[in-house]
Amino acid sequence: MGLFGLFSSSEEDKRATEIRTGAVAPTRAERQKCWAARDAYFACLDANGIMDALKEDKKAAQSCGRESAGFEKDCAAQWVTYFKKWRVQDIQKKARLKELEAQGAHKMDLQTDFKTQR
């Protein structure tokens, strides 16, 4: 690795650090990289039956240490927390919907235009 390689890798590191700290907004490619790392991490959590990665952080670190490191490397720290919380809510939402469907509830599309009700 020459001087140029060292320089460019430090540039990359700088950019990655900026993204992690939220100093810059990620580009489309960087977002996609982050989402891929997130999906890999969530797949690991699924496989290990972990729902809340924030509450069960020790178990999560033990089972999905490698994926977690990738997730935290490619995403802003804020995003990592956000996605972890989002996953819990999403699981709960899906479970609740399933429960409601089992009770015979009908799925309906939300109407959001300000139609006058008659």
């Binding site: 100093a23 580009t27 720290a77 804020q78 996605f83 599309d109 939300l110 300000f114 139609k115």
Partner: protein
Amino acid sequence: MPPPVTTARAVAYALSRVTPRHGARQLSTTRSAQGKRLAAAPTARLQFQQHKPLLQRRSYKTVEEAKSRYRSGPFSWKAGLLFVITAAGLVWYFQSEKERMKRKRIAEATKGVGRPKVGGPFELIDQNGNKVTDKDLQGRYSLVYFGFTHCPDICPDELDKMARMFDLVEEQRPGTLLPVFVTCDPARDGPKELKEYLVEFHPKFIGLTGTYEQIKDMCKAYRVYFSTPSAVKPGQDYLVDHSIYFYLMDPEGDFVEALGRQHSPDQAAKIILDHMKDWKGSLKTS
């Protein structure tokens, strides 16, 4: 023996019960006879007059043919076709009118007095640093979306959707729709950041930013909820909570309809194009 007065009354009663009926029968007979006589005279004359033309118009050859024509009556395949076409035309007309009225109701719900007012005057700067006011958006429809560049997942998805929606409308009515992105995070999203961010979605997107006060007023005018976490230290990362609707505004700057996550780009583009079709005023195209 009853007194004579009573007898007379009884007889009169008996008569009244019998005579009118009898009289009526007589009357009706006379009237119908007269009626017959009156009606018969002109008919006879008419028959006499029309005797020849009726014979000439006859086009059937056999009695069977005449009978079959009589049985089918006024119903022929031509009449049936006319009926079906008319019915289909009427159904189509009423349905399209009904939908047009529905859209009109939505579009006019915010016009006039006593209506909720969404939108209004503003003064912000775009991603090139130029001043943009509500006047610059007038004359065209605009699709306004609020977000921020550090948004983790929903805004990028929605902005991609907005780009597809915009392209679909551009194909049909080029230059009639302005895609506008307003940041809810003016502290971090300056013109430079907006420019870098938006160009990846669509080169024609207009990004608006301003001071915190200006953005707060803008969000208030559009009834957009947003919350920046309080007590943010400089350089600290945070996320912004905000409403995620596309606001369709008409060429006069009045709110038309909110498009949400449940609309696909095709559905949303159709809604926008339909509203454009209804628009009676002038519409800039370039």
